[in-house]
Assembly symmetry: C2
Homo-oligomer: 227 residues x 2
DNA sequence: CTCTGTGAACCACTTCACAGCA
DNA sequence: TGCTGTGAAGTGGTTCACAGAG
């Protein structure tokens, strides 16, 4: 009777694609919850998330049995379980390394706060930036203060928004002061030490993927009809 | 003798993961080129990009035969081929829909320009934002001017930086005025019309992936050794 | 002998299809 | 009957291993 096993099993090895989808499911459940819906079937949830229904059930099966046969899932319960599984039942503290345009923008990006991630500081090697603040008031510290800031503010997540050339050393600096989860916006591939999770967000790759699509489309005899 | 076939074959169906890696290879080749290196083997390139050497060869094989057996690839040549394949031999014009923190930040992000993508305008539905400018001078237009701006400025790429609730309609509006390549920063899954490429960048999912890692790490008896 | 290009083996994730419970 | 949970089948992408060109 593991119907509502709160503690996950060893969670041997959950595919990253699965955890990514859990985030998507959670957002759909949020919407269903505010819409006042009480239960949802794997099919209905899958349709909303643009995935396969079996996929939803398989993904959830990694963590327990949350559904009721013949009925579906209780929206509020499943929402709570996913929040716990994803570790969203507590807030996280975050530093952003690199106070250029991107770093500044990320510091002010409300989406992070809304998801439970509080940016406590920006860091940069440029002396003239130290002491300035982002629009919403996040202060820029000198990079040499990294260890102190991380310890004092109980930081568990680092954001890398430095130029390509500094990416590897920035990651290493973060790891050295105990940060184990890193969101990396710098372009080049970074060698990740074991026990540390680096999530790469490469805007250049995304753009070039679009560019490839446009180029390929153009090579073929542009098949766009005009009705 | 297809050794340097400039025109790609039908390019039947290239996996997205392959084109993403092409971007990574290209960046490594840029570095090798400025470092003055003339040739590179698939092994050496793979090591730099943190992938398998066979992977590099397979990826390139979708587009032709660019190497010389016993030698490797000529850095400058391969770089040129990849730029052409990815459609980076011309600049693209881009609008950003949504002039909130994220949209404004993206407008000022130099990385886009560096990759050949010029942001020509921001658009927003909020009247009071119309006429204002980003720090680097990109002007905010009213959303109703989308069609006109896209036509006048020859825009081929749209960036969606609007709140979740407006994501789907924004994508549809872009498609309606002829934009076929979209970079989407809004959280919810978006139904994509055929013939249109939407590249989703979900910062919330990325963060929650890190959160999951931290939570899982905490559930186990934190196995970090202290030597 | 070196290193590319590629068929074959492998692996991971997805989808199907159905047993089993409400 | 309706829908979950799950073994089995299917799919796509990665890695291996080798033939063959230089």
């Amino acid at each position: 009777m593991p119907a509502t096993s709160r503690k996950a099993p060893p969670v041997e090895h959950v595919p990253e694609l699965t955890t990514n989808r859990l985030s998507v499911y959670l957002r759909c459940l949020d919407a269903l919850d505010t819409a006042g819906q009480r239960t949802v079937s794997s099919r209905a949830l899958a349709d909303r998330c643009l995935v396969n229904a079996a996929q939803v059930r398989k993904d959830l099966a990694y963590f327990g049995e949350f559904g009721v046969r013949g009925v579906g899932y209780t929206v509020a319960d499943l929402r709570g379980h996913l929040r716990q599984i994803l570790g969203l039942d507590r807030r996280r503290r975050m530093v952003i390394v690199g106070a250029g345009n991107l770093g500044m923008a990320l510091a002010d990006y409300a989406g992070f706060r809304d998801q439970g991630f509080d940016t406590v500081a920006l860091l940069d090697t440029a002396r003239h930036k130290v002491g300035t603040r982002s629009r919403t008031g996040i202060e820029v510290h000198h990079a040499s203060e990294l260890a102190e800031v991380v310890a004092r503010e109980d930081v568990s997540v680092g954001v890398v928004a430095v130029p390509a050339a500094a990416a590897q050393e920035t990651v290493e600096a973060l790891v050295a002061v105990g940060v184990r989860a890193i969101l990396d916006f710098a372009p080049p591939p970074v060698r990740t030490p074991p026990g540390v999770k680096v999530k790469h967000v490469d805007l250049a790759v995304s753009l070039e993927s679009l560019s490839f699509f446009l180029a390929a489309e153009h090579h073929e005899q542009t098949p766009a009809p005009q009705p």
